[in-house]
């Protein structure tokens, strides 16, 4: 076995194991962490395919941000897995249909030579200094710029919608304007009162000891 093939099988084994554990782990936090492992190994596989930009972005976006927020939520919820599994048999036919569909799709790709897929040929390997990132950026901003901008606008709409749906102004909020806080001067908060010192029966005492400790 060549070096890359053995690495592929190593990653693939971890990926399949992690994927299985995502759906079998009893603890939802463990399941989410196995999903993180699955993403990370998938990134390793993409690296083998010379898609280094996609691989690193997968780690950066999904592992570094999405899954962190996911874990955040899962850790704070009190999820009862037995309750979640109640409808298992009801959903099985639908899930089975999706699974069969996925298997057919994979078979079409894996057995592609029987369906004439091999006319596209194997993509050529690139030299070490070939920059995947640059090529991808150039394509996205020239040939596919409209599609790219459209996707960006759709995402923006989704962001605005998510905020608009959850935004509510609470009447009892104790929000303070930071600008106002910064602008506060001593005179607004503090009043210095000048008082006559109380006369003590005896003792010299300095003439202007008043005002202290008021």
């Amino acid at each position: 076995m060549s070096y890359t093939t053995s690495i592929f099988y190593f990653f693939a084994a971890i990926l399949v194991f992690a994927g299985l554990r995502v759906i079998t782990a009893r603890n939802p936090v463990h399941a989410a962490l196995f999903l993180v492992l699955a993403f990370f190994t998938a990134a390793g596989l993409w690296m083998l395919l010379e898609a280094e930009f996609l691989a690193i972005t997968l780690v950066l976006v999904y592992v570094g941000a999405v899954m962190v927020l996911f874990l955040f939520v899962v850790m704070m919820l009190d999820i009862n897995l037995d309750k979640l599994r109640e409808g298992f048999w009801d959903y099985l036919p639908l899930a089975g249909f999706v699974a069969v569909l996925l298997m057919i799709e994979m078979a079409l790709i894996l057995g592609g030579r029987h369906f004439g897929l091999d006319v596209t040929g194997v993509p050529a390997r690139h030299a070490a200094d070939y920059s995947n990132t640059k090529e991808l950026g150039r394509l996205l901003y020239t040939d596919y710029v409209y599609a790219f901008e459209l996707a960006a606008v759709i995402l923006l709409v989704a962001i605005v919608a998510a905020i608009a749906l959850t935004l509510r102004r609470r009447k009892d909020s104790k929000y303070i304007d930071p600008a106002e806080q910064v602008r506060v001067r001593r005179g607004d908060r503090l009043r210095i009162v000048k008082m006559q010192a109380e006369k003590k029966g005896s003792g010299p005492g300095s003439p202007d000891s008043g005002g202290e400790g008021a």
Binding site: S2, Y3, T5, T57, L60, V63, A65, F72, M75
Partner: protein
């Protein structure tokens, strides 16, 4: 395929890579150890104290003594803790902190792996560091640890965005993701460093770096006065020390990245002096000194103020500056930003 043979060239490459990693990690660990010493000394002086001065000459052996003490201590695993994850926490904290160093160049040839997407790699790997904190906080089965982990995770996620945008500015200016190329693009004396055209991004990156490493004044994740010590409250002995190693390794990493991207890396500030690793060390040391200085100067931020600074100040500032830089590059003044 199929027949078993040993590819000696591959074996040699692996051994060579391992040697390089060892040659990087040992000085890094020493740097971490003596950064703790420097921190105690510097803050001591700033507060008109002496700092550690008992172990060895001027207290120079203090970090070694601390390490030995922590190694001898028992690692206690709380009875309600999730055992496997409790041990995994510190490992996941230190692994990214060390792995990111693979692409950090010290001079134009002295680098473990000079990869093309170096900046992306650093961003991806450092974004994994938050898992150590979250897992440690959750697995400890303690409310203080959990609250600390929540605070820390929210803070790291928030400042990562501003940090990433600051890096986009550098990327625009250097037109490369390769860290060696980014430094080379700043050649030609101190006035060519990216700190000048990208000054707002430099400030954002530095402050976000302090927040990312959970250092004072952004250390609400530890918050002794409210949540004891935050996410690592249940850890003892070496497991606790590993979290500290990770924090300090991350500090040096942020300082090194600031040096590479904004302060010209190993390039000398004036043309008459030769470039070299000594400049890299001086600049990184200066940025690290800033970290210590901040800690001795500023009181801890309130949590909502941290969130406000990250989302409402830093992100808009970076977006405006990125638009400005990319706009200016299309005009006749573009050379000012390269």
């Amino acid at each position: 395929m199929g027949n078993l043979y040993v590819d000696w060239a591959a074996v040699q490459a692996v051994v060579w890579a391992l040697l390089k990693i060892v040659a990087l990690v040992i000085p890094l660990m020493l740097g971490v150890a003596y950064l703790t010493y420097a921190e105690r000394k510097v803050i001591g002086w700033m507060q008109v104290r002496i700092g550690p001065n008992r172990v060895g000459f001027q207290g120079l052996l203090q970090p070694i003594a601390d390490a030995v003490k922590l190694l001898m201590k028992e690692i206690i695993i709380p009875s309600g803790a999730s055992r496997g994850l409790f041990i995994l926490g510190p490992i996941l904290a230190i692994a990214p902190a060390l792995a990111a160093w693979a692409v950090i160049p010290f001079t134009d040839t002295l680098v473990v792996a000079n990869i093309d997407a170096g900046l992306l790699y650093v961003m991806a790997v450092t974004s994994m560091g938050v898992y150590g904190v979250i897992i440690a906080g959750w697995a400890s089965n303690s409310k203080y640890a959990f609250l600390g982990a929540m605070r820390s995770a929210a803070q790291i996620i928030s400042y990562e965005i501003a940090m990433g945008f600051a890096l986009v500015g550098v990327l625009l200016a250097a037109q490369s993701l390769n860290l060696v190329d980014i430094v080379r693009a700043q050649a030609g004396g101190w006035q060519q460093w990216y700190i000048w055209p990208l000054l707002p991004l430099f400030v954002v990156y530095l402050v976000a770096g302090v927040a990312e490493t959970n250092r004072a004044p952004f250390d609400v994740a530890e918050g002794e006065s409210e949540i004891v010590a935050g996410f690592h409250v249940e850890y003892s002995g070496m497991a606790f020390a590993v979290f500290f190693l990770a924090e300090y390794a991350n500090m040096i990493l942020v300082a090194a990245l600031t040096t590479l991207m904004f302060l010209g890396g190993w390039l000398s500030p004036v043309n008459v002096l030769p470039d070299g690793i000594v400049w890299w060390l001086l600049k990184t040391g200066f940025v690290l000194f800033l970290f210590l200085w901040f800690r001795a100067t500023f009181p801890r931020y309130r949590y909502d103020q941290i969130m406000r600074l990250g989302w409402k100040v830093f992100i808009p500032v970076t977006i405006v500056w990125i638009v400005l830089v990319s706009g200016m590059m299309q005009t006749q003044y573009g050379h000012l930003f390269h």
